[in-house]
Symmetry: C2
Subunit: 520 residues, 2 copies
């Protein structure tokens, strides 16, 4: 990953260089775990029985059969009608057998290709991949405060997504760069995904033109042919249903464009119990499942075997205020049952690291760890909003990004198997030390101490005197220093000059054409 692209390197260094000695300790790079392919070694947790799961499944089929779902795009309704669905106006009703038949062709595992093959992700099975935060309209950091999303913050978050090894993909725009006109925003933003990172990424389904541009940028970035792209999924898009029970035109166009090219679609209903879904977790899951199944079935109608992910995003609202809540016990349960449903269908499962806190305090941490608990135990495969999500997704926070990287690393360490070799069992070390001794100088300790334990990014384990002398830093303050250090140390990944030139030419041509319509 040596950077030989001297132009962009210099540009990058100018932006980051001034911070080199203002953040972190300025002396050495942020200590982090190496890049890992993370795989769950324990069975996923189940909190409903097979019968209860079947009841949720059957209730979803009943919803799709008796109530149906609105598909606002005529082309999609025509396809569904031909395939046997009952269509009345925008409403589409599905017989259970049609759903079961269509979803049977979904691949249970596939590879999500990055332009750097070392960053390609295996999706499904026991694999788990963490992405950045995506889509907040605002950014914040502890120095500059909360502000409208902008291009500079966008680029900085993208760089952090590249910098931290525990981040496996870019979930979308880590913050919306609102200062770029909507017609060309996707072009600038996706060009940066390719140039500033070599990890796999996402494009938004906001009309045909944008998602087509996204597919082309992903193809150019990888330097592959159209044919190879169809063999190798290299882009993913989130398809949010308009809950309850509606799939709208831009989203359906997204499925048409992406699935027909064998790119990855993640169908994610946003079913807040008590608001867009029933006030019970089970009811919200029935609705989530009905909407997900309908969207997933449609991807397979577009192209049998196209890669698709079952997205779970069921949480609850505060019934006193209507405010969405995240990282709650209800969120944990919905995540775990969502995983049970996805595994029932043998479809990879997407979930998220969420919180509703307004600042990077204890609440932000506990809501996030409860989310990680649910999604790790529940068998999440593709984890959106892995790092940086604050305020229920309204803010991308630089400090939260670093905090979350530490949390993800801890989860990653937790998932490593426990070493139980004879040497690890340490009987000889215990014999050497004996009753009343200590292990600091034992041979066993000296041979292993450097990498014996996880070394956290921000946890402060100093004693009280040292901590007082250091000015009583809180976790967010250490996180604040770390993201600055990371940006200062960020290195732009190598890209073939020919690929970079082709990418730039494509983006400039599309900008000259006026980009994409903004009447979506």
């Amino acid at each position: 990953m040596t950077n030989t692209d001297s132009d962009t390197t210099r540009r990058s260094r100018r932006e980051g260089g001034g911070r080199r000695n203002t953040g972190g300790d300025g002396r050495h790079p942020v200590q982090q775990l190496p890049r890992r392919k993370l795989k769950r070694q324990f069975p996923a947790m189940e909190i409903v029985s097979a019968d209860e799961l079947e009841a949720i499944h059957q209730a979803s089929l009943k919803v799709l059969s008796e109530i149906g779902m609105d598909f606002t795009l005529p082309e999609a309704r025509d396809m569904l009608k031909k395939a046997g669905a009952r269509v009345e106006g925008e409403r589409v009703r599905f017989d259970p057998a049609m759903i079961e038949e269509l979803i049977a062709t979904v691949p249970s595992e596939f590879t999500f290709h990055a332009r750097n093959p070392e960053n390609s992700q295996r999706i499904g099975g026991n694999y788990i991949s963490f992405g950045t935060v995506a889509s907040p309209p605002n950014a914040s950091d502890m120095d500059g405060g909360r502000r409208t999303g902008n291009y500079q913050d966008y680029r900085n978050f993208v760089k952090l997504g590249q910098y931290f090894n525990c981040i496996n993909f870019l979930s979308g725009y880590p913050v919306e760069p609102i200062d770029i006109h909507a017609s060309v925003r996707h072009l600038e933003a996706l060009r940066d995904m390719v140039l500033l990172t070599d990890k796999p990424f996402h494009a938004y389904s906001l009309g045909r033109e944008r998602i087509r541009d996204g597919i082309e940028i992903a193809r150019i970035g990888r330097g592959i042919s159209h044919d190879q792209l169809e063999q190798e999924p290299s882009l993913f898009t989130i398809i949010n249903t308009n809950s309850p029970l509606k799939l709208d035109t831009p989203m359906l166009q997204g499925i048409l464009e992406m699935s027909s090219r064998n790119q990855i679609v993640c169908v994610t209903p946003f079913t807040l119990a008590g608001a867009m879904a029933p006030v019970t977790v089970a009811g919200a899951l029935v609705e989530q499942n009905a909407e997900a199944l309908a969207g997933i079935a449609f991807t397979q109608l577009v192209r049998k075997g196209a890669p698709v992910i079952y997205g779970g995003f069921t949480s609850n609202v505060d019934m006193k205020s209507g405010a969405p809540a995240f990282g709650t016990p209800e969120y944990m349960k919905a995540t775990i049952v969502g995983g049970q449903l996805a595994r029932r269908y043998k479809i990879p499962f997407r979930t998220s690291n969420t919180c509703a806190a307004n600042t990077v305090d204890a609440q932000a941490a506990y809501e996030s760890v409860f989310s990680l608990w649910g999604l790790t135990m529940g068998g999440g495969n593709l984890i959106m909003h892995g790092a940086g999500w604050l305020e229920g997704g309204l803010v991308a926070s630089f400090e939260k990004f670093v905090l979350d990287c530490d949390l993800i690393q801890m989860v990653s360490e937790f998932m490593q198997p426990l070493e139980t070799t004879e040497d690890a069992l340490g009987v000889e070390a215990i014999r050497e030390v004996g009753p009343g001794g200590h292990f600091f100088g034992a041979q066993h300790t000296l041979a292993r101490y450097t990498n014996a334990f996880y070394s956290p990014i921000i946890s402060d384990w100093r004693n009280n005197q040292q901590w007082l002398a250091a000015g009583k830093p809180e976790a967010w303050q250490k996180a604040n220093a770390v993201w600055k250090q990371a940006l200062a140390d960020y290195q732009q990944p190598f890209i073939e000059p020919a690929i970079r030139d082709e990418l730039n030419a494509f983006v400039e041509k599309r900008k000259a054409e006026g980009g994409a319509p903004t009447d979506f």
Copy 2:
């Protein structure tokens, strides 16, 4: 739990009354979940295979057989020698068969009796009970800062332990009341356990006299005979081994006094990997297991069938500084394997809600939730330090106490089964609302919204504008208001005047006798 003890009520009200309108919103009591008997409904997690578990078990037996353990009390060594152990000086070596035979009589479940029968706890199996923090030498709150433990803070923490329904027992002194002379401290402190709470509690094994006084105070508090006390375990004590591989005199005396009276002993090695135990988690577990088995075996030698708990307290140190670390990935793994070992022996499992943070920030929260994750999934039964632990146990924090109660409540909610009745599945609600609608006014929502979701104690779900207008409160600030409100609202539980008089007479007599020796 009406308070009819007017003397102590008045005393209590004088202490708490002045705060009534200074903390919280002063208008209504803290919103909390009702008292619950918490039971794990899912299988405990396993992260090592049966073979790996067996390897740890066998390595522990090898340690006890070949290396042995120091027992500093001659009386204990004599008993062990008579039972077949090999004794040389202070060193005691056990044949594996002797250990296996002795631990076979440990009860797998028992009841821990409180003076209020509604607060008695079932220990073992799938039951889970949370206690207060225990034993910090310092207290802190955000107004008064960090200070040496004292009687007033002690009493306030004990009251919080009574006030919060999610706290099932008192784990020990929630903070050490250092301003009471050590000779009589246990008398004053344990009297308060009986008068200020009606939950079950702990007495320290610091020499024969103290633990005998503790047993007598527990008996008097329950108003029962010595015979009934022997039928109904009503007190527990922590027996910490002096790791590595030493059981010292006060602890052995504690086992002798407690087990002979059929009271509860919890044998807890404190095996910090890299310091008092091998630098590997597996090695530290081998040592933990050897020490726990030796202590547990001794309890059964004292009295077959005496209730005993397997304590796990393995964590790691920061190898750069030697500082203990808590709530780490290593801590989670050690907790889960500790649970596997305890279940192998069919012995109830004790673990803890730990953190190493210096203040109630994001770190305090994530270390605690990682701890709760490990101990909940790993099948902990008796959870020490459930609420209030900060700075690796050096500080009892009032704000952390409230934060932890919220975390415990969330864990408790997570553990409630998901309702999947036909009404909960909500198909009719989905039909009523239909595509594009919302559920705020649905019949199903109106019928259920009051108790639909967990209502947190401190999480702030207000939007950014409201949160800014409220002065940007962080989680610890809400916690600060809540503990003051809780102390203001605290009600001393009813106690029979005759019991109170007997208790006071006993304490005054023992104080007049000079209390207990302080040369321990």
